[in-house]
Symmetry: C2
Subunit: 240 residues, 2 copies
């Protein structure tokens, strides 16, 4: 394997910024488990792989580097021995999707990645994000999605246009909503999750056809949005 | 209000390290909402309050500072106008607790804080942590708990000793566990949550009397531990 050049090091570092990822249509995946999954599921998207492991073998373009350089290009506290630069897949809307999660301005990359992983677990067909939702190719989103980004289709659009068009029931958690434990739910419909601080925006609330809420038993004022997502999806998937 | 001295600035910064928090028995709370809740719920624990707001008024010891200094003592990306140095409460075990969450080596501060907030929402009586679980007074734990630290009692101990003694049913998520949706559950018992990478340790698994699992519908290999906590607690609290 060739050694990673100074130019390539500089170029990989530049992909830490969204504007550079967007301009080059690339993103970064780190960690042995995720890179191996990537090689398995999206081999054609891999631009290059860097490794500190001299025994690592692949037919894909790959370069060796030392641990110090790996630390300098990695976004992780404890860099792993594998890092890949990946071509972004096309973000598209599946026409036949009937179990959909809509994200209305989710800002925290950790929440976004965890929501992706949870949607993958519950086999959500599609995630539709508002244009102000955090970039799904943000390194922290990718890392906390634990590979779910390779399986669950994500797209960005004007939510009003998307919701205007749908014939599916539209669910959203609102204070005045119905107790979710008492609703007859099935794996069908659109579930809207709102911004961490502001909740679902007023404009988007108007598209909700079934307002729901998770009953509170204690003192916390609210649930983290990814926890709410997990509980709501669990309720939709469990046999009632 | 007096202005924050250089010595105090240095001292507050030093509390970013666990060894200093432990030595002084103090921790830090940031943000307007949480500091106001703190003043309301734990006024006697407040050592001092720093603020950039000259109009802020309290009878508790408080100091003004400028935004630059606030940025230098804050752990937040966007520092807030209020920061408090707080005496740690005594971590204790409620004798009458019957709905308990046990954390077996949870490492990530964000997960720990989110679990605390979720336990508070579902009115868990007590959280019992293994001695290797992340420090509950870690700044990131405090911030992501959103004030739940003031309401839900937390303690650290040798889990074997604690679990050996209990007469409550002990639940734990294991691959071979029973489908949680089919279990008759009530708000009673001990729920064990395992480490992010390794799950529940072998030794602690031996105390489980009711192995459970959350059914998987899609491709993700596992759920984030705080999401699993949310779904399990929701199942225990919903009317079956």
């Amino acid at each position: 394997m060739e050694s990673l050049s100074k130019n390539k090091i500089k170029w990989i570092r530049s992909l830490g910024l969204k504007k550079n990822r967007d301009a080059e249509n690339l993103f970064i995946v780190e960690g042995e488990k995720m890179v191996l999954e990537l090689i398995d599921l999206w081999p054609k998207n891999i631009e290059l792989i860097c490794t500190t492991d001299l025994n690592f073998s692949t037919k894909l373009p790959s370069y060796t580097t030392d641990e110090k350089t790996m630390r300098s290009i990695s976004s992780l506290k404890t860099p792993n021995k594998l890092l890949a630069v990946v071509k972004k897949p096309q973000l598209k809307l599946k026409q036949e999707a009937s179990f959909i999660v809509v994200l209305d301005d989710i800002q925290d990359p950790g929440n976004m990645g965890t929501i992706l992983r949870t949607c993958d677990w519950f086999n959500v067909d599609q995630i539709v994000c508002s244009t102000n939702t955090v970039d799904v190719f943000n390194t922290k989103v990718i890392q906390s999605s634990m590979g779910s980004i390779f399986r669950t289709p994500v797209t960005y659009c004007d939510l009003s246009v998307f919701l205007e068009d749908t014939e599916l029931p539209v669910y959203g958690a609102l204070l005045e909503g119905e107790n979710i434990y008492k609703q007859q739910t099935e794996r069908k419909g659109i579930i809207i999750l709102g911004n961490e601080g502001k909740g679902i925006s007023e404009k988007i609330q108007t598209y909700i056809t079934q307002a729901i809420h998770i009953p509170r038993f204690g003192g916390a004022e609210s649930l983290n949005v990814s926890i709410a997502a997990g509980i709501i999806l669990s309720e939709f998937c469990r046999e009632n």
